[in-house]
Amino acid sequence: MAFEGLAERLQGSIKKMRGKGKVAEQDVKEMMREVRLALLEADVNFKVVKKFVSDVKERAVGQDILDSLTPGQQVIKIVNEELTKLMGGEQSKIATAQKPPTVVMMVGLQGAGKTTTTGKLALHLRKKHNRSPLMVAADIYRPAAIKQLETLGKQLDMPVFSLGDQVSPVEIAKQAIAKAKEEHHDYVIIDTAGRLHVDENLMGELDEIKEVVSPDEILLVVDAMTGQDAVNVAQNFNERLGITGVVLTKLDGDTRGGAAISVKAVTNTPIKFAGMGEKSDALEPFHPERMASRILGMGDVLSLIEKAESSVDEERARELERKMRTNELTFDDFLEQLAQVRSMGPLDELLNMMPGAGKMKGLKNIQVDEKQIVHIEAIVKSMTKAEREEPSLLNGSRKRRIAKGSGTSVPEVNRLVKQFDEMKKMMKQMSGMQKGKKKGGMKLPFM
């Protein structure tokens, strides 16, 4: 089905690459086929995808594989790095004019969410930056658009400038600036009407408004669900007006949001904000690196790779591996490992990422209850040192004590002990399988 995560799709190719010392061209080609499909399904423009794929291929082929990573992860890492780079690297803030008021123009297609975003942005400026914005109702075309902004203004207790729908938007904008100066507003946010990028007349109107108000910021509001056409839209608005930034709306939906990449690629302006919900405070600064993972459909897995590189202590990992192999694993190790894994991100996504886990019965689409992990921790922490090292000590009365101490029940303690035994068995098998295949050993049982 369409929305398969990239992680799942890549599993076949990753498997083939296991144990190799270098990334070979054929492997990369195969993986990039999947990356290409994943990006296209995420609505990234096909031209952008084409260029991206060839860039990554070039970089990946022939690379030595870091000790801590499998070849597959190495390629994914490169993909992610390039994607983040494409998305603009770091966060970007809203402009401030040297001489107030700072004038912000909101532009975009119909239904992208300009009016809602205008309200959100005003609130953001007041709450986070302690500014006093004036919102300007310059959409005289859509029925009740002015009313919508006025209602928002009332809800937020934010001033709205409007002259009704019989005055030209250029005139409205002009008077609004004068008003802002007079009343000492330091930001003016002009909500313009939605329009098609190919509508000559209405695009001309934006030109005129721009001419009159000389905005410090022209924000193109883009629906995160936009498909391939995002490129045309962004290009047209940018060529015509010279946009300075993008707001990506409706990101609280389940779209992958590939439009973000397309827009960024053709306009080369930063995405400054993301709309994350219907409430007025649901406007967030845009995080390029998070968006990269989202588009690839890999959740926090990529940061997991990075964290695995840095957070796992070599020595301890080696010791752990030895213990696993020799079946000396104790509850203490278990606890430590649990803590390490938890520091890396949501567990269910983590599980889905494990090479092979997707195919393991019962592990696919598993829902990990984070609360349960807390219980497990409590149980282990209620054990004595001796018990942690020698689980076979656990008899009925000890278990009752542990259950009481951890606020759980004896069956829960039993379940954990049983799971622990099974895990030990599984690890022994797994480490047996991997032995000798890869230097450096495995850091975590699933990596």
Partner: protein, 335 residues
Amino acid sequence: MSFFKKMKEKFTGQSDAVTEKFKEGLSKTRNSFVGAMNDLVKNYRTVDEDFFEELEEILISADVGVHTVMELIDDLKDEARKRNIQDAKDIQPVISEKLAELLQKSDQESHLLIKENELTVILFVGVNGVGKTTSIGKLAHKFKQENKKVLLAAGDTFRAGAIEQLEVWGERVGVDVIKQQAGSDPAAVMFDAIQSAKSRKVDILLCDTAGRLQNKVNLMNELEKVKRVLTKEIPDAPHEVLLVLDATTGQNAMSQAKVFQKATDVTGIVLTKLDGTAKGGIVLAIRHELDIPVKLIGLGEGLDDLYEFEADQFVHGLFSDVLEQVEEAADSGPK
């Protein structure tokens, strides 16, 4: 008989004005699509792997969706082999044929189901900003022109200014709007509306709802409730549940269609904003995978710019230039 000949025959008898409007409204969409197709045929004289790869890109650029495109391409490859097509020019009609086939799987249910002499209830659903309220305004106008008695229900009680927006449309078109205060329960508005519709002997009740992203479980539950209220008052209502889709939307439209269908048994799609450069190709994938037909399309901002969808006409609109070329070629060629 060739596909284009068949197509042409279907059109004789249809009013030229409507076809012209279609052509005009779709001009932006068509130009880029057909331009790409023509370039493709020009650049690749023979039908080979590269040709199909490029074709794949053209279709993907129309938002048709990777899954459907792959199937389509496989189909075309088979067809090319079967018919022994090597010249790129010769495969072009096959492509159009396949696309039209996808869209007009079953023609009969692509029209709105309107009851004779009885109340017809139409519920509009969709994500935020796709044009639900605008589509209702236009459709109300259309029915009004047909001398039907129309009533609107302001079921978007959430978004600021939504009720007023529908009221403005009501005034413009000259139909009444049933409303409550902003923030009230939309199900209650629907109850009111259906009662008034019955007592006023209205022909058609158009129900607006608030836009909602399909992954908001609570909001989808609310929508189910709205629908239940309608069904409780009239067992076979709503007679139509129209999912409004923005043509610029990409692959997420599939998820929208799936989830809204599950919640409200969508009976058709209104594809809006087709007058831009977006091609709305995702409706092909939706038709293909979920079998939801497109019933109406929005081609502009005017009152009259909502049309009943005709797959033939749509494909004709998209391919009219190609059509003419092919005909010319056929006419000038040896008999």
